[in-house]
Amino acid sequence: MARHRILIVEDSPTMRQLLVFALKRLKEVDIVEAQDGMDGLRKVSSDHFDLALIDINMPVMDGLKLISLIRGEDNLREMPIIVITTEGASEDRERAIALGANEYLTKPIQANKVLRVAQSLLKAE
């Protein structure tokens, strides 16, 4: 089986570390980190990814904007996206899902849940 490539777009270094910690549990993965929406857009358009985890609240370009730009690209329309939302911000979550995110995770993030959701999306793919 080929190695899966996962992109994490998240401004908090700690959060990125937690996500990397959880996702490293999946064998055969390469994880790439981006620190804001613009960085994420650069990386997603120059390389292939099997899955992207995108935070909503980010400087420079927020997650919702990034998701709408990704879904506007023909070759990125099928890439699974997990959106990371803050507890209580159900409006953001609904907007993200409406824009084309496949799944959502709510902060505080549980590493096990990250793993489960990522696994199910990679399998579905």
């Binding site: 908090s12 270094p13 700690t14 959060m15 570390q17 937690l18 910690f21 959880a22 490293k24 902060k107 505080p108 993030i109 549980q110 590493a111 096990n112």
Partner: protein, 848 residues
């Protein structure tokens, strides 16, 4: 409900049916194995065999039923399976079921050893009942065959049942978690006993049966002899002259024959005249025409003739059998010696095995208790040695891992401690920040009040200026009027005089207003000075707040680094745990491979055993020539038995290792879960710290804005002060001009008395006065513009005051957020410390 019950009771019933079927099938297979021996042992006719098989079939059904009744363990297990399927099995029932799964094989072997001879006896007696013609020797032979059946069936049955029960036993062992509880439930059967029992039963029983076969063969030889000779001897007219040549084989092994007349007991002929025996006494109880029998001294066979006046009896002394098979009496001694050697060899091998296993068990127990020191290392040349080395390897990798985990846990603990310190430092700093913000706000409020005061004063000032200027304008108009009319109105002195008085009143009024103006200016100046003091205070507070914000940022950044170190530490722990899991799974897989190899060895030993049994039987048939080969066959059989016993124990040891491995893996998984939880807590703490850093930075920039605003304010205040100076200058100018004017008035007043004379002087003086009025007007203009500027500056100041207050409010909100985040972080780091403590407790179990 009924269908549910039926479905729930199925597993137990299925289990019982399966075991009953297994018992039946294994019995049938054993009977098929024994049948050829029986055929050889018994010279029955077809009808008798038919009866025999019917009887055997009947008794098998009965005895399988009895064996089911005797196997309590199977019932116990079936009961548990039912309860478990219904989800009602209690812990006690499970422990009992586990004990039953251990006891099952022992019960099966015991039942097999009991039921085969009992069953054979029942079959033999039933045969005697249905076919009385069957000799008692045949009855005995059947009983012997039963004993042999027990010996043959028990290893097979033990193997099959053990294999069958193994999954259930493993499942129960997994459910009953505590090894101590399992140890209490197990009734131990030492390896020495197992081995001794196996060696003795598999040696003694075949030997006894072999002896029976030999005896039987001998008796059959006598019967054959009698049958062969009957026609010739029983019907001969001259029996006295019978030749002895035709019975040479029988006589040569010590047998003898007699031809007797049963009517008078006269011996008509005999094989050897010197032999003394009473053939008629031997067959006294026998009414049949022909048959075989035995008494205390000999085996015999007889045949009567049709008329009943002759009977031929062949007798073979019991001692002669040895001679027949070529075995001297001392060979029996040798047999006993061989038995003793086999028993002691079994004892030595068993001691070797159980000693090795005891050491390995102690080793495993020490590892289970967490003692990973290499106090003793087990070494042996066989598979136990391999296992010992595998244990050593496992211990070493566990040690290495525990060392790594301990180091990582230390790092986590230190980091969590530092994190907690950071948290309280942040909380303290945030509280300080909050305090200084409150102070700053108080200062700002006082500034605002002062500004309001100043504004009021300025407005008063402005009003005074307005009034002053109107008075002055009035005065100016009066002056101008005076000047223009001075030249022409010297005659209207009275009028002028009154105008002058009016003007003097205007000037006095103006002087009063100038005094008010001066007071307002002084008030304004002192308020502005006060305000400047407040501003310095605000500036100092803001600087302190900025310093604290910077400190919060530094501390929070430090905290975040700790968090990252913590997560990195956790990551290292997880990697280490993964390695352990891999090592243990590898160990389990190795054990599985060893198990497969052992199975092969077991099969080979099993086959060897059967071959050896066959060889022993064939050797016995070969007589003297097969003797040496028989000893070799026995040795082979012993070796095969030893191998089988060893492989069984290795198999159970491997299973123990596998179940320990599973327990270890589940412990590791629990540890891994706490690592995950620790990482989540750390991430929460890290996020809080990031939020603190962000808000502290924002506070810092807001404070910088405040400082800027305050500085602007200070500049505006300085400007106001400057303007006030100018106001005061203007006022002084006014005062000076007014006093000059008043001096002028005095001159005017003096002049009025000599008005007419001094009309020119008046004209000059009024011009001077107009000059003074212009001067006043210019001063007033200066004051007015200054007052306007002051007003403007004050409005600016009020605006920047409001801006400061709103920014203070924002800073205060951020400080409170920081405070909350710090509290959150403190609780997260507390949880992290707890997780680290739990992990440490787990690790402290191990002694490296």
């Amino acid at each position: 409900m009924a269908t549910q019950n039926a479905a729930a009771s199925r597993p137990g019933r299925r289990f019982q049916k399966r075991f009953a079927l297994l018992t039946l099938v294994s019995s049938a297979v054993n009977i098929v194995v024994i049948a050829p021996f029986l055929m050889r042992l018994l010279d029955w006719e077809a009808p008798e065999w038919r009866t025999f098989w019917l009887v055997v079939g009947g008794w098998i059904v009965v005895l399988v039923g009895v064996s089911q009744w005797m196997q309590q363990a199977v019932r116990e297990l079936a009961h548990w399976l039912d309860r478990d399927a219904a989800g009602q099995a209690t812990h006690e029932e499970t422990v009992r079921a586990f004990a039953a799964s251990i006891d099952l094989v022992r019960q099966v072997i015991r039942d097999s050893y009991l039921l085969w001879p009992v069953g054979a006896t029942c079959v033999a007696l039933t045969m005697k009942l249905f076919a009385p013609a069957i000799a008692w020797a045949d009855v005995l032979a059947l009983c012997g065959a039963g004993a042999l059946g027990g010996a043959v069936s028990s290893p097979t049955v033990a193997f099959v049942f053990k294999r069958e029960i193994e999954p259930l036993r493993a499942r129960l062992a997994r459910i009953v978690e505590s090894p101590e509880e399992r140890a209490r439930a197990v009734r131990r059967l030492p390896l020495v006993w197992k081995l001794q029992g196996t060696v003795l039963l598999t040696t003694v029983v075949p030997i006894v049966v072999m002896m029976m076969v030999v005896q039987r063969q001998t008796v059959l030889l006598a019967a054959e002899f009698v049958h062969a000779q009957q026609r010739e001897w029983l019907d001969s007219d001259e029996p006295e002259n019978l030749a002895a040549s035709s019975h040479a084989p029988f006589v040569s092994i010590g047998g003898g024959w007699w031809l007797v007349d049963p009517g008078n007991g006269r011996v008509i002929a005999q094989s050897d005249a010197s032999r003394e025996a009473d053939p008629l006494a031997a067959i006294a109880g026998e009414s049949a025409a022909a048959g075989t029998g035995a008494n205390a001294s000999a085996f015999f066979s007889w045949q009567r003739n049709v008329r009943g006046d002759r009977v031929i009896v062949a007798m073979l002394p019991r001692g002669a059998i040895g001679a027949f098979v070529g075995v001297a009496p001392e060979v029996y001694g040798l047999l006993v010696l061989a038995l003793a050697i086999a028993a002691s060899a079994a004892w030595i091998v068993a001691r070797d095995l159980s000693g090795g296993m005891a050491s390995l068990r102690a080793e495993a127990q020490r590892i289970a208790d967490g003692d990973l020191a290499r106090a003793s290392v087990f070494e042996s040349e066989d598979e136990l040695g391999d296992l010992g080395r595998a244990f050593d390897q496992m211990r070493q990798s566990l040690r290495e891992t525990v060392r790594r985990v301990t180091a990582a846990a230390d790092r986590v603990d230190t980091a969590a401690g530092q994190l907690a310190n950071v948290g309280s430092a942040v909380a303290e700093a945030a509280a300080d920040q909050d305090r200084s913000i409150v102070q700053a706000r108080e200062s700002t409020d006082s500034i605002r009040e002062q500004v309001t005061g100043i504004t009021e004063s300025a407005q008063a000032l402005s009003a005074s200026v307005e009034e002053s200027s109107s008075s002055i304008l009035e005065m100016g108009a009066a002056g101008e009027e005076l000047s223009s009319t001075a030249s022409v109105l010297s005659s209207r002195v009275e009028e002028v005089s009154s105008s002058i008085e009016q003007m003097i009143r205007g000037v006095a009024e103006m002087a009063r207003h100038v005094d008010g103006l001066s007071d307002a200016a002084i008030d304004t100046q002192s308020s502005v000075a006060e305000m400047a003091g407040s501003m310095r205070e605000v500036d100092a507070n803001a600087a302190e707040t900025a310093r604290l914000s910077a400190q919060v940022v530094t501390v929070a950044e430090g905290g975040r680094e700790r968090v990252q170190e913590t997560i990195a530490g956790m990551d290292a722990i997880r990697d280490a745990t993964d390695t352990v899991e891999k090592v243990i799974r590898g160990l389990g897989a190795r054990a599985q491979e060893i198990g497969a190899i052992v199975d092969v060895i077991d099969d080979v030993a099993d086959e060897t055993n059967l071959l050896a049994l066959n060889a022993a039987i064939i050797a016995a048939q070969a007589g003297e020539h097969g003797r040496a080969f028989s000893v070799v066959a026995d040795e082979i059989k012993e070796l095969a038995d030893r191998v089988m016993a060893s492989t069984k124990e290795i198999g159970s040891l491997i299973r123990a290792v596998q179940s320990e491995s599973e327990a270890a893996i589940s412990a590791i998984e629990t540890g891994a879960e706490s690592v995950w939880a620790g990482v989540e807590r750390s991430a929460q703490a890290g996020e809080s710290l990031e939020a603190i850093t962000r808000t502290a930075r924002e506070s810092g920039s807001r404070i910088a804005e405040i400082v800027q605003a305050v500085q602007e304010q200070a500049r505006a205040a300085a400007h106001v002060q400057n303007l006030m100076e100018r106001v005061r200058g203007g006022v002084e100018q006014l005062r000076h001009a007014t006093s000059e004017q008043q001096q002028g008035h005095a001159v005017v007043l003096r002049g009025t008395t000599a008005m007419r004379d001094a009309a020119q002087q008046v004209h000059r003086t009024t011009e001077e006065q107009a000059r003074g009025g212009n001067q006043i007007r210019a001063g007033i203009e200066v004051v007015r513009s200054a007052v306007e500027q002051i007003h403007q500056a004050l409005q600016d100041q009020t605006r920047s005051c409001q801006q400061s207050a709103s920014m203070m409010g924002q800073v205060s909100v951020r400080a409170r957020t920081n405070h909350e985040s710090a509290a959150e972080m403190e609780s997260a780091s507390g949880q992290l410390r707890e997780a680290a403590a739990t992990m440490r407790e787990n690790i402290e179990r191990f002694r490296i």
